[in-house]
């Protein structure tokens, strides 16, 4: 028994170098992970370059923080204002547009605020606030949360009160909560489609250009964090913006719908 154990342990130790492929650490948003896009996008790159991409899926705010502290090599996020600040402060270099999708305002079928079919997202948010209909906010500093706050700002409304629930959780959990509390929420279309069968919420407002949601990829600045794997990171960014990568992104379907589009 003991001998077996020792032999196995030795074999495992001997096999270790075989596992020592290069790892690239990518901090990204919960929406790219939840939508299943990464599971489609990463394996071809990993195979071609004999590496492994460690995905850390968090909100945009936290993803950028991980980039600041040098805990990751690359960030893939969606909050342009925050991304520009990140690059301007010298935390990241070489930002590139990768793709975009859009946000939708979801709500219960009963539509107490009467916003279904409105073309103007800000007007819809104003109506939700005026009727004090329940609204569930991500409240977690994510890209979606950032956009929601921009919409309130554009409407000139300070969202607070019993009707405004700040969940401080991921998109999936917030969809569940909005469904349970019969409230409205702002969601990226990808996560909504992934959850559509589980919840009773419908799309109330879509198509406003203010609901447009671009994603960018940024390399963590190697001048600040020398351990960043520049070569592999650059290869990965090239791959995302290459024809192969673009085809994979636009070809990805969920529930028969295309989730992400690439900028021409």
């Amino acid at each position: 028994m003991l001998r077996h154990f020792v032999i196995t342990t030795l074999l495992v130790l001997l096999a270790m170098p075989a596992f020592a492929i290069e790892h690239l650490r990518l901090a990204t948003t919960t929406s790219t992970e939840n939508s299943g896009l990464l599971a489609e996008l990463l394996p071809p790159f990993e195979k071609a370059n004999d590496c492994h991409i460690d995905v850390i899926a968090v909100g945009t705010g936290k993803a950028l923080k991980l980039g600041e502290t040098g805990d990751v090599d690359v960030v893939l996020v969606h909050a342009r204002s925050k991304e520009d600040k990140f690059v301007a402060a010298g935390y990241g270099v070489d930002r590139r547009d990768v793709m975009y999708n859009d946000f939708v305002i979801l709500g219960p079928k009963s539509d107490p605020a009467g916003i279904k079919g409105l073309k103007d997202a800000v007007a819809a948010m104003t109506r939700i606030a005026l009727t004090q209909a329940t609204f569930v906010s991500r409240g977690d500093d994510s890209g979606t949360n950032t956009r929601e706050l921009q919409l309130w700002k554009a409407a000139g409304i300070k969202a607070e009160g019993d009707w405004y629930l700040e969940a401080g959780r991921g998109m999936g959990e917030v969809l569940t909560m909005a469904d349970e509390r019969r409230g409205y929420t702002l969601s990226d279309r990808g996560t909504y489609l992934a959850y559509r069968d589980k919840i009773d919420l419908g799309v109330m407002v879509e198509g406003d250009k203010r609901l447009f949601n671009p994603y960018g990829v940024i390399m963590v600045n190697p001048a600040r964090h020398p351990h960043v794997k520049v070569k592999l990171a650059r290869k990965f960014m090239d791959f995302l913006t290459s024809d192969t990568g673009r085809k994979l992104i636009t070809g990805y379907r969920r529930g028969g719908e295309q989730l992400f589009y690439v900028a021409d």
Binding site: V58, D140, D141, E166, A167, G168, R169, E173, E180
Partner: protein
């Protein structure tokens, strides 16, 4: 090291200035955990005492069950009650999910087996002559058991503290059933989870220190009680 020290400084600043967010989370934590502890005590202590002194069929099964429930994972409790309180669930009509009441229900389920078990240990560990003596003096079975509990009150107190300790420190049930809604169901533990996920390390640390101080104060208070 500088990063940690800096965070520690920020955290202390927040505590000293009684940051509203921190206070709110502390309030929700204490309110839900204390309520749940009261409920758990109301049926956990009698249950433990009954199993301890009683001789009835099924006693062994209850014993085994209590011991198993001690190790109940919080997410399992969260999951079961989520199904119960959800709009699709049997109690969906009450609309309790994502309210403090759902949290209290979950925490009660967690604390009851602990309080019952510790009470049981206290009762079985007591002087075996207490109950017969009380009975000889003319007390009924109920009155005798009450006397016995009075004799081992420190053990029972420890049981209640252990139950409280479990629910104030746990995050699974509070997160799944309460939903971490700011100013409503956001507790110290769910706030720590949130701030960490936002990358706000200092704020998380401040909350962690508050959580520790609360535990310390409660234990100091109990120590004082025991010395009387």
């Amino acid at each position: 090291m500088g990063y940690l020290l800096e965070s520690l400084g920020t955290a202390l600043g927040m505590i000293i200035h009684l940051n509203g967010e921190v206070l709110g989370a502390v309030g929700v934590s204490l309110a839900t955990s204390l309520t749940a502890t009261v409920f758990s005590t109301v049926w956990g202590v009698p249950l433990g005492a009954a199993v301890g002194v009683g001789t009835f069929p099924g006693r062994r099964i209850i014993l085994t069950l209590l011991n198993t429930l001690m190790a109940l994972p919080t997410v399992v409790v969260g999951l079961l009650l989520f199904g119960l309180f959800s709009r699709q669930g049997p109690l969906g009509g009450l609309g309790l999910l994502f309210t403090p009441w759902a949290m209290i229900a979950g925490q009660t389920v967690l604390a009851t087996p602990i309080i019952a078990n510790y009470t049981l240990s206290a009762v079985t560990g007591a002087d075996p002559r207490i109950l017969p003596t009380a009975l000889t003096l003319g007390a009924g079975r109920l009155r005798g058991t009450w006397q016995l509990l009075l004799e081992v009150r420190f053990g029972v107190m420890a049981a209640i503290v252990a139950g409280f300790g479990r629910v104030i420190a746990e995050v699974g049930v509070a997160m799944m059933l309460g939903g971490n809604i700011r100013g409503y169901t956001r507790t110290m533990t769910t706030a720590i989870a949130l701030e960490t996920s936002k990358g706000e390390f200092a704020f998380g640390l401040a909350l962690g220190m508050v959580l520790l101080s609360v535990a310390l104060m409660i234990n100091l208070f109990l120590n004082l009680m025991q010395q009387r």
